[in-house]
Amino acid sequence: MSTGNTTRSDRAALYGYLVAFDKVDELLVAAAAVRDAGYTRWDAHTPFVIHGLDVAMGVKKTVLPYIVFLAGLTGAAAGILLQWWTNAVDYPFLISGKPLFSLPANIPVAFETTILFAAISALVGMLALNGLPQLSHPLFSNRSFKRVTDDRFFISIEAQDPLFEVAKTRELLESVSDQPVEEIEELS
């Protein structure tokens, strides 16, 4: 493990620091400490959702619901337009003298297209906002990080963070965890 005296060329290759935790409690305390220190480009990594961690990290609420709402509206409009165009305009279906276009008969299909569009946008929107799929990432080069999908908790702070300083950041992480702070290299 190198200490604070890194040269400039080393720093260019540094992605950030990674530190592990064994318990949920420790992670939450540490996350609050990193948040209060003012860091912005950092993250916590956990095998499952930990309630309270969003607040401890200061994560802002996602815009996903608005995307899904708009997609739902689009779906409803598409469903109505499809039925109006096909059955009332392009090929008028006259059945039992009923009006060519009447909303009640078109509700079930419009409802289904609303749900369909909204659901697809929920998954695609979530992935897009998260920047996934991203099959390769600097963190994957760390061996102990493999346990993040099993039973370990991690905090990583990126070297790109405006507040990042090799010595100070390491000190902060060392103060919140009793486990070694590891350097993660940028992908070459």
């Binding site: 961690l53 899904v68 090929y91």
Partner: protein, 481 residues
């Protein structure tokens, strides 16, 4: 076995004691080991091969029957005037109904914060998808000329015609199509973190690459989890009205017609209750052997089975209520044809099917009132199979008894399925079980990330904390507003 029974028993209902959702001496790592271990075995166990041999042979029977149907025509089925709707629609409704329990468990129980759902939701969602696959086959082949199946969809075609959007049969295409898509999205999204678990434990290159691509580079970032949770909540909120709409639309196929016994407003709720009832029965039928053979009893616990028995009891009673309401309305309406149809169901030529249905769907679930009986795995398993049988007969009774004797006695008839009808239906079970066996072999069948979240270790361990999973003012340095 040296383990005392009480060790695995979490079925107590003392309200002062929070029942554990994962029993035994488990931590996060042991849950990962148990679930991933099934996928990571170099070879599937022997019983898997036996089951797979049987189910894939039945699948071949299904394909052979479809081949015969397509090359010969629907004369190979027992359809005759007046019964022009037979096994195909009965099987379609049966299979779509089975799927409903999966969505109920994954979406509705999620919104209702029923945390016990976490152990079984992946499994039930998989069952939903496979059941919908089986259901989708029947409308596709039911006219025998599968090359016209695209007429189901609003696609510009050489006749310059569009499908009729006032027909519930077309609503069905949209409802079931949306249902299949949304179920698949929901299932896959929930699986991403667990696929990443398998990726991170991979010992072979092949496994690493396959699960690596499938998990999309998931790195368990909390910023990602935040959006993931939102997407999950949104999908659950969308799937809830969707699942209620699907079987309602299926029931419109009948209710919108003028057939006595079909033309009733009770159909949508009645169909939805029946669908959930049959779906839970199928979950129980599948999960009891699976948890036993793969050693998942500490994760899919006795309490999970008991809860499902209670839901079957509730939905079974709803179905029973619907059966009696139909009779009441038939009498109260004063409509001769309606009254005749229901007397004919109970005492006519299909009385045997009607009473099989009542016995299996209304009487059998009554045993779940008794704690001793519902907690006996073998009794629960046999009861669940009987309920599946009963629910198939429910659809048979609805379809066939109404069609075979409608308004004009001169046009009455008696419907008899042919061997091809029966083999096609049995073959669809082969397809269902084949897909299911592939799922338990290659994909994580328990949602590990969700199960870990409801384990006591996931919560703060300090005196005075009530363990509800929130941290309001509980931890120094974390300000929760």
């Amino acid at each position: 076995m040296s383990t005392p029974v009480s060790y695995l028993d979490n079925t107590g209902d003392d309200p002062a004691v929070r029942a554990r959702l994962v029993v035994g001496d488990n931590d996060f790592h042991s849950v990962t080991n148990t679930v991933c271990g099934i996928v990571e075995q170099p070879r599937p166990p022997k019983f898997w091969w036996v089951a797979f041999a049987a189910s894939s042979s039945l699948t071949l029977v299904l394909f052979a029957c479809i081949g015969y149907l397509v090359t010969t025509g629907i004369g190979v089925w027992g359809l005759q005037v007046p019964v022009g709707w037979g096994y195909a629609i009965v099987n379609f409704v049966f299979w779509v109904g089975i799927g409903h329990a999966g969505t109920l468990i994954s979406a509705i129980l999620f919104l209702l914060r029923q945390r016990w759902r976490t152990s079984i939701n992946r499994f039930a969602e998989a069952m939903t998808i496979f059941a919908v696959v089986c259901a989708g086959i029947f409308p596709g082949i039911h006219v025998g000329r599968i090359w016209f199946a695209y007429w189901l969809f609003p696609i510009p075609n050489q006749m310059s015609m569009w499908p009729n959007f006032r027909s519930p049969l077309l609503w069905d295409v949209f409802a079931v199509g949306t249902y299949a898509t949304v179920s698949l999205l929901f299932w896959y999204m929930g699986m991403i973190p667990d696929l990443a678990s398998i990726r991170d434990r991979a010992t072979t290159k092949l496994r690493f690459y396959i699960y690596g691509v499938l998990s999309l580079g998931w790195r368990s970032s909390n910023r990602h989890w935040h959006r993931f949770e939102f997407a999950y909540l949104l999908l659950a909120s969308l799937a809830t009205p969707l699942v209620l709409s699907v079987h309602s639309v299926v029931s419109f196929d009948f209710a919108v017609s003028i057939m006595p016994g079909w033309h009733t407003t009770i159909f949508p709720p009645y169909f939805v209750a029946g669908a959930i009832f049959s779906g839970f029965a199928m979950v129980v039928t599948l999960i009891i052997p699976t948890r036993k053979f793969f050693g998942l009893e500490e994760i899919i616990t006795a309490r999970h089975l008991e809860n499902m028995a209670k839901i079957m009891l509730a939905t079974g009673m709803m179905v029973g209520l619907a059966y009696s309401t139909e009779f009441f309305v038939a009498w109260y309406s004063g409509n001769t044809y309606e009254a005749f149809t229901f007397l004919n169901r109970a005492f006519g030529p299909y009385a045997w099917a009607y009473w099989t249905m009542v016995t299996c769907n209304v009487l059998v679930p009554q045993i779940f009132w008794f704690r001793k009986l519902r907690n006996k795995t073998i009794i629960l398993w046999v009861a669940s199979i009987l309920i599946n049988v009963g629910m198939w007969f429910e659809r048979f009774v609805i379809v066939v008894s109404s069609l075979s004797r409608d308004y004009l006695p001169t046009s009455w008839g008696y419907y008899r399925p042919t061997a091809i009808d029966v083999l096609t239906f049995v073959g669809s079970f082969g397809l269902f079980f084949t897909l299911f066996l592939l799922f338990v072999r290659f994909l994580p069948m328990v949602g590990m990330a969700e199960v870990k979240g409801v384990m006591p270790q996931a919560h703060l361990d300090r005196p005075g904390h009530r363990g509800h999973g929130d941290y309001h003012g509980d931890i120094a340095g974390v300000e929760v507003v």
